[in-house]
């Protein structure tokens, strides 16, 4: 019912370095079926003296949830929508809006259960299918979910909603990679399949654990650890989804861009963004909404939410500045698109770090993110050569990897970070050596990258076989708005 802890890494007796290698990833996918067989009981049932939610926490988490919704619609939709040509804007808005909606429904039906209940190290179980047990109508009883503080809970309904927004927006991020040429039905199929075999397992691997209250005594530590997700067990830090959301979506997008192929005219015709004002609005709403995403990931309205908040604020600002300065220096003009891209790059990079690093660490991460992701959408993009139309990989993939690794650096208390929980029984805090932690982070990145690449490959293949990935050439030329959706965005 829970997630990896911001402070949490080297907890009681946990051995570091359970890492699996990339080659075993295909084998792991097979584990997906396990929980369907093994009947899983309700993970929430263990809590002994029944703490009650604090209303301040509830208020904050409700707000955080709606902020993440605002990130998707209209935030992400506009950020992407402004970047395409005017003949394709509605197709982008639709892919985001309908994809998001569809996944929210699926999240309630089965997604939540497979991500956040006890199962195996790769996937959760079936105990919360159809949200069974989250709210009991007959007794009018509301279940609670654990947070990262002992004795602090929130209504599980809130946790379901909050996590649902993460799942749904992550799949929407991929849309940017295949914009302007993808068949609408294929886009929806890809999102559903990838959500199921890509997102849900990774979310479970990174975030599922038994919660702090489960660590009642030293002798239960091993048993509790064993029930957590694979990457969580390794001790990887991911406060708000650097791996689960950004690397995950970034890599899937890149695979998609390659499999779908380049847009007609790519590299020859000018394809300037049709409305950068929309992109700026989108980037701004992403920034605003991301406070829910990041500070909300603390799951309560306390000091760590505040830390994540200020870090999200300053890292983003720093990345906006550094991208603009690099562009100014190398390309003579600091562009609006650059500033907006920089802000998003900063947001991405600070995501895994936000509650895991100190206040100056955040600014450094932001500054680096602006520079690195600038290279991601220029130099690296040319190296890769794929038509990742809206730079999902260059910004989200690369920024996510950068953030994940730097989290391992600046988490260290000697570098101003808050360290991590070394023993969940006593909730005591310490720091891993920087290189140790960076290696753990790198392992998490590798597993995520491998898993999502395979999942994305399967998802796109399924869509290709079922309906075909691309629209006909004529429709691509005319634009997807009129041909796929029967509408134009703009009229007199």
């Amino acid at each position: 019912m829970n997630r990896n802890n911001n402070l949490a890494l080297l907890f009681g007796k946990r051995e570091l370095g359970h890492g699996r290698t990339l080659v075993s990833l295909l084998v792991m996918l097979a584990f997906l079926c396990l929980p369907f067989i093994a009947g899983a009981e309700d993970a929430a049932a263990a809590a002994p003296p029944a703490p009650v939610p604090n209303k301040g926490d509830v208020a904050w988490m409700l707000v955080s949830t709606l902020l993440v919704i605002m990130m998707a619609v209209p935030g992400l939709a506009l950020f992407y929508g402004g970047l395409v040509r005017s003949k394709n804007i509605l197709s982008v808005l639709m892919q985001v809006m309908l994809g998001f909606s569809l996944l929210v429904v699926l999240w309630c039906l089965y997604g939540y259960s497979f991500a956040f209940t006890e199962g195996n190290a790769y996937l959760g179980g079936t105990s919360r299918l159809f949200l069974n047990g989250v709210f009991d109508p007959l007794t009018v009883a509301f279940a609670n979910a654990a947070t990262f503080s002992k004795g602090v809970v929130i209504p599980e309904i809130v946790f379901v909603a909050f996590q649902g927004t993460f799942a749904a927006i992550t799949a929407c991020l991929i849309v940017g990679a295949f914009a302007e040429r993808m068949k609408f039905s294929a886009a929806l199929i890809v999102m559903v399949v990838w959500f199921t075999i890509g997102y849900l397992p990774i979310a479970h691997m990174v975030w599922f654990w038994m919660g702090p209250d489960a660590y009642t005594a030293p002798d239960v530590v091993d048993a509790m650890n064993a029930k957590a997700g694979l990457i969580w067990q390794m001790g990887a830090l991911d406060f708000a989804g650097g791996t689960v959301v950004h690397i995950n979506a970034g890599v899937a997008g890149l695979i998609g861009a390659i499999m779908v192929g380049k847009r007609i005219g790519y590299g020859r015709e000018a394809m300037p963004p049709h409305n950068l004002v929309l992109t700026m609005i989108g980037a701004s709403l992403l920034w605003v909404g991301w406070f829910g995403f990041n500070a909300g990931s603390a799951l309560e309205a306390g000091n760590f939410a505040a830390l994540a908040f200020l870090n999200t604020f300053s890292a983003t600002a720093a990345a906006c500045v550094s991208w603009s300065l690099v562009e100014w220096a190398l390309r003579k003009h600091p562009s609006m698109l650059g500033a907006a891209s920089g802000a998003v790059a900063g947001l991405v990079a600070i995501t895994p770090a936000c509650g895991n690093v100190g206040l100056m660490g955040a600014i450094i991460i932001g500054l680096l993110a602006g520079v690195v992701c600038f290279w991601g959408v220029t130099g690296l993009k040319k190296l890769i050569g794929a038509d990742d139309a809206l730079d999902v990989f260059g910004v989200h993939g690369l920024g996510g990897i950068l953030g994940a690794l730097l989290t391992g650096v600046f988490n260290n208390q000697a570098l101003g970070g808050p360290g991590l929980v070394t023993d969940w029984v006593t909730a005591s805090v310490g720091s891993n050596p920087v290189m140790t932690q960076v290696l753990i982070q790198a392992k998490g990145v590798l597993i995520t990258t491998g898993w999502t690449a395979i999942a994305a490959f399967i998802a796109f293949k399924v869509a290709d076989v079922l309906v075909g990935l691309r629209v006909p050439e004529d429709e691509e030329r005319e634009g997807l708005d009129t041909t796929s959706h029967g509408e134009r965005a703009y009229s007199a």
């Binding site: 970047l83 000018a270 300037p272 562009e327 390309r331 003009h333 698109l337 891209s341 959408v377």
Partner: protein, 112 residues
């Protein structure tokens, strides 16, 4: 009757219109166009991609005139629209075989 088609820089539109009014022109039709010529456009950068934008925003005026007015109108336009910098634009004259005012059905020079 003649039809003068003038392509000019957008910010000169108001001045040209006033100058034409001074020489007795009572009506004209304006279109926003993009011009390509000796004047170079600029480079635009969108993330990785760099575009040479060769087309510059211009304004096209179409003015139907009685033959007698033509030379004065041409002079007025040329004088006012000139900045002396490249890209000031062009002026073309064609013959008009007929002109009609839709409201009244008047035709020929009366219709202008």
């Amino acid at each position: 009757m003649k039809l003068i088609t003038a392509v000019i820089k957008p910010f000169k539109l108001d001045e040209v219109r006033l100058a034409l009014a001074d020489v007795g022109v009572q009506g004209l039709t304006v279109t926003e166009v993009k011009g390509f010529g000796r004047q170079r456009g600029h480079t635009e950068l969108y993330r990785g991609a760099e575009y040479q934008v060769d087309f510059l925003p211009k304004v096209k005026l179409e003015i139907a005139l009685d033959d007698a007015q033509v030379s004065r109108a041409i002079d007025a336009i040329c004088k006012v629209a000139r900045t002396g910098k490249i890209g000031d634009g062009k002026l073309f004259v064609t013959d008009l075989s007929q002109a009609i005012r839709i409201r009244t059905g008047e035709s020929g020079p009366d219709a202008l």
